[in-house]
Subunit: 379 residues, 2 copies
């Protein structure tokens, strides 16, 4: 490997949320979804060069940014996007919040998956929007959204569906057929769609690829705001940016109106990091995927020996969604924490009897985490 | 001088809004309010060190940030603030927008100064809030807000007054008496106050100091959200942060609610830059003030020779608010632009017959700007 993912990194004294919340002498913190790896050298070098300029004034987004994003989407996802469809955002989360606020009124309803990344739910609750939950089901070892079981959630108040693919925390990468079914369901029910695809660059399954929901058909594209970012893939959420893709002008206007009401543009270094990652980050990303696959396989192997814990197929992201139902423990999150491992409690995503383990870390740390899990369930 | 403000800096190819909007071969761009100086070496070094860490994950604000800010406010402005009164923001502008959205309804009214930084007005219009303008008057060569002439603007709908001190674009630094009068006017009329004090660190007048409006009295403090930032003083608006100070819990909650609805925290490097500037930036700031004073004096000297242009006392900021009324030219901004100098058109701040000149630049560039003005009015 040309890049080093194995050497232990030290994130103490960097104000890391993940590493500072617990006493690192007692708890291995594999919860918040960032990785323990350095960003690619191309990103660090680009940031370094920009810092050397010494002047950090008001900055516009680079002239070729949208064009470069469109090119990137074509190369990576065979998705043909007009650069004019792109709106630059400070983060995917601010895109989610803006979309809910601008596309629905307080009288209207939104659909969100369950389990799902908590900010999809918070985007609704923080702006006092009612929502209904679309329950994922485990089918053939994958967490899927059965589109034929969603109709009962719809009323004439339902205006918007929030979606998340690759799924967080379920780790599912939707197939073309699944996307088609979900997209068509939304089109038929005249729902806007906001699709969080932040983990698109982290497909681990050798037989899967990321397919943008909006790339499925023109009908679906016309209903959809897609939210993307390189923050997860290249591990710079603390200085990153995101973008929305929307073919329909009114949807772009919605995002822009939200931006105009908050005025928090990305940091100028977000442009630097994102451009560098798009232009030169691919060799690093390829090796990252290999490393994360090996971590995933370690988890599969260890979990084969656990009777009371299970994990579905981990198709994308560096997040393992661990089913602790059979443990018969009231607070599995607490059980692991007391053993010295911080996971994300499943309640954060809507499921009490699960935890989410972040395996975007060095192999030796993952080994330790798996041992801690093992020892805790033997107690 | 220990620091170099004189050597021409090159901001081309850095996506600078100020330098990229016009052809730099034809136009000297002294408009958007950032400076042509590098940030202090302590800031550049701190950023450099943080970049070397290589991991840019989810970051909390540094543990001592609020405490350090409180200490800074005490040392610089003799303002005693409880660290708990402080809320960290991505920018002063997002603080303005949030305040208007959260403290008023669409049926209520806000007061704003005229002329004033355009985002105070846009904070109202973007959220469809009506406003009335408090006209500044020139008194003894200073732009002041005559508090005894504001009562007619008040109705039972008026809930909030936006304020800006040091004044942008007028460059006035309010006296204790002026602040007291304005603050008491607001208290007596039961108005919330949002005070933009972003230029506090840039007092040029040898006989003036910055006095936070909320430091005048407990009554005023209890009505006030103060917005501050080091972005202007240390010239890093492209990677900066801001903070709100509010003694009254409900006002802090207002800001926090706004933040919770948008979720765009500052970049992690904003913490790095702000902490470094607070801790080690003072010697640089002292020299910057000397340099800007000399620039200010150049402008005074040159303007003494102009019959049809005038500028009031420049007490704070690096912005000259130039009165072109006597020129009898329909578009003074256009006149200067055609001569090769980009200023900010006065219409942006609410006054057509003025322009705002940014003198946060090298002396040689300012000389050129003044020559361009001279040649254009001789035509």
């Amino acid at each position: 490997m040309a890049f080093d993912f194995d050497t232990l990194t030290n994130r103490l004294d960097t104000d890391s949320i993940r590493w500072d919340t617990f006493d690192h002498n007692k708890v291995l913190p594999l919860w918040v979804a960032d990785m323990d790896f350095q960003s690619p050298p191309c990103v660090i070098n680009a940031l370094n060069n920009r810092i050397q300029e010494g002047i950090y004034g008001y900055t516009h987004s680079p002239n070729h940014l949208k064009h470069t994003i469109a090119q990137y989407l074509l190369e990576h996802y065979e998705w043909k996007v007009d650069p004019d469809w792109i709106v630059i955002l400070p983060s995917v989360v601010s895109g989610l919040y803006t979309t809910v606020q601008q596309l629905t009124t307080t009288d209207e309803e939104t659909l969100i998956p369950n389990p799902v990344y908590h900010h999809l739910r918070l985007a609704c609750t923080s702006s006092h929007r009612a929502f209904k939950e679309m329950q994922l089901e485990e089918q053939d070892g994958r967490w899927v959204l059965p589109s034929n079981k969603l109709q009962h959630l719809i009323s004439n108040k339902t205006k918007l569906a929030l979606f998340c693919n690759p799924q967080n925390p379920g780790s599912t990468v939707c197939t073309n057929k699944e996307l088609q079914e979900f997209g068509n369901f939304c089109v038929e029910n005249n729902l806007w769609i906001c699709s969080d695809e932040i983990h698109a660059g982290l497909i681990l399954d050798e037989n899967k690829k990321h397919i943008p929901l909006a790339s499925i058909s023109k009908e679906i594209s016309e209903k959809t705001i897609t939210l993307m970012s390189l923050n997860k893939t290249f591990n710079f959420p603390g200085i990153g940016l995101a973008w929305a893709v929307a073919e329909t002008p009114v949807l772009r206007k919605v995002i822009q109106t939200g931006l105009d009401q908050t005025i928090a543009p990305p940091s100028l270094l977000a442009y630097t990091a994102t451009m560098a990652a798009m232009k030169e980050g691919e060799p690093w990303r390829q090796e990252l995927i290999l490393y994360l696959r090996a971590n995933r396989d370690l988890i599969y192997k260890k979990f084969d020996t656990f009777q009371d814990l299970s994990v579905a197929t981990m198709e994308g992201s560096y997040l393992a969604w661990i089913d602790c139902t059979k443990l018969n423990h009231q607070y599995p999150y607490q059980l692991f924490l007391e053993a010295g491992l911080a996971t994300s409690p499943g309640s954060q995503f809507g499921q009490d009897k699960f935890v989410r383990l972040n395996f975007g870390t060095q192999k030796s740390r993952l080994h330790k985490a798996l041992s801690l899990i093992q020892s805790s369930i033997k107690l």
